[in-house]
Amino acid sequence: MLDAAITATGEIFTLSRMAWLFGGVLLGSVIGFIPGIGGRTTLAILLPFIVKMDPASALVLIVGIHAIGNTADTIPAILFGIPGSTSATATVMDGFPMAKKGEAERAMGASFLSSGIGGLIGAFTVLATIPMIRPLILTFGNPEFFMTAILAIVMIGLLTGGAPVKGLIVGGLGLLIGMIGDAPQTGVQRWTFDQLYLSDGISLIPIALGVFAIPELIDMTLGGEGTRIAAAAPITSSSTKWQGVKDVATHWWLLVRSSFIGSWIGILPGIGSSSAIWLAYGHAVQSGKDKENFGKGDVRGVIAPEAANNASDAGDWCLTLAFGIPGSATMSLIMAAMLLLGLTPGPKMLTDHLHLTLVIVWSLVLANLMATGLCFAFTKQLAGITKLPVHYLFPVLIVLIFLAAYQSTADWGDLLALLVFSVIGISMKRLGWPRPPLIVGMVLQRLAETYFFLTTKLYGYTWLKRPIVIMLFGLTVWTIIHAIRRHAKTKARA
């Protein structure tokens, strides 16, 4: 561990790696806070370019892009009530009323500092849990990993909306699409229909771009040619952002609690920051002595979700690195990038590639510091981009998406896949079908199938008697029952 830590420190503190990290933070800040675009799209667009880099530099760049996303997406949420991503929705509740009261910079000051500290607490949580995770992983064999993959798909399928059956169908479909091409164990071609393009399977990049990026871009331009992403809103005097810093110091215990909520939620597969922020916000409301100001511009309503948001990212990383299970759609993209780089997220990241895992932890710490500093310094300038007409952004982004899709295998099939999955993505979004399980299913397919094959070949039916398998199976059943009950309650209320 110590050797790996020294190697990681040596790898991260070089001029080129620091430049990649800062470049990632800068790029993530430029695109990350434009509503509807966010870090997920940035990562999807950059995937083909990242795979040509050396693994450590690529990971540093990915962390840089990803880390600032959850910090920067609060700018439009606070200034204009437009969340930069779903992870900033809770911040709107009190951040926007603060802006309307002339306390925009105070809210941003509190938000950036909470994000930064939350991210640091999350990163150190990851670091602290690595020694505990290693022995845990040693108790995991092929059957346990297979069941964990199934649990993750079930959880993501069930927790992505009020339609659990749809989530499971989409997750299953993602797994099936992932199976197109060579079967990993037998080498037999599956569902290629004599098409050369399908023999290697459909690339994840055009699918991710089609399912996520295109539908969001189309919705961005809904308001007509004069539409601005953000409406004009004055920023109050710069001195008030320091009031936000003081607010964070005053409510430090809430910040710490919210960060731990975020870290814990991030570790659970499929839940992600979108629910961590609401849990933290709910906790802030429940634990607050005076609750009447929540929703009207209470700074605690900004501190809690922002801390949880960035902390959950670190938990997400922990899950992805240690178990090879992405805790969110963004993490599934990052996992895809790692696979393309020749790194298999999972136990080997804690043994063979421990130094790279520690490079990621270091990068998380540094990227959070850079992101906080950058947002503090350039709040006004960054916010200006959201005032550009969306119709100027749209064609440029479409061009980048097409290039990114084509880049993945330089085949016409990628462009066709992009168009087909764009139609599917648009239909899914419009008709209330959850999209993340499709990507998660695709990403987890190879892992799940490999462990399934090894499990059935090595253990026969005896694997079903293993204690952790029984526990994971029970958890899977409980998740399904819980989702069905919650869905029934939602339907009854509707």
């Binding site: 009020g162 809904l222 330089a410 209330g432």
Partner: protein
Amino acid sequence: MSEKSGNNLDPSFWLSLFFTAVIALLVGTALRLDWDTRLFPWAIGIPALALAVRQLLTDWRGAGAKVEQGEANPSAGVLDIAVDRSIPPEEIFRHTVRTSYWIVTFACGIWFLGFLISIPLFIFFYLIAEAKASKLPALLVAGFTFLFVWGMFDWLMHLAWPEAALFSLLGIKF
């Protein structure tokens, strides 16, 4: 778009039907594969097919709209971007078709003229027609994007561009 009106089927039914057909096709054609190769596809595909058929029947009966009301609950929208239901579905549909037209036109442009020519043309005409931009800013945005794409993908990365149909037809190397 999501509400059932009169005797019309819920639009969600057609997507359910599509997913059911795709899963059924994959499960059915897996029959030709050997046992080891089809084991996992069936282990996943058969339960997925059962759920898809159940969803299809639900949508057939018109319960899809109720399900979607459940999804409108903010706490239920985890891990996905909420759909803006304040805009009439007809308007969203018209806008989607119109924007898709531009995207498909761009794709056809790539096939016919290649990436490097269709990129500035697409940006220029989109800005003129949709953003109602004047010619100079449209030219500037198109020009800068072209320079960025050419500089990064052609000059720096030497990306192998797909052969354009027009130049193949004319026998010109571009």
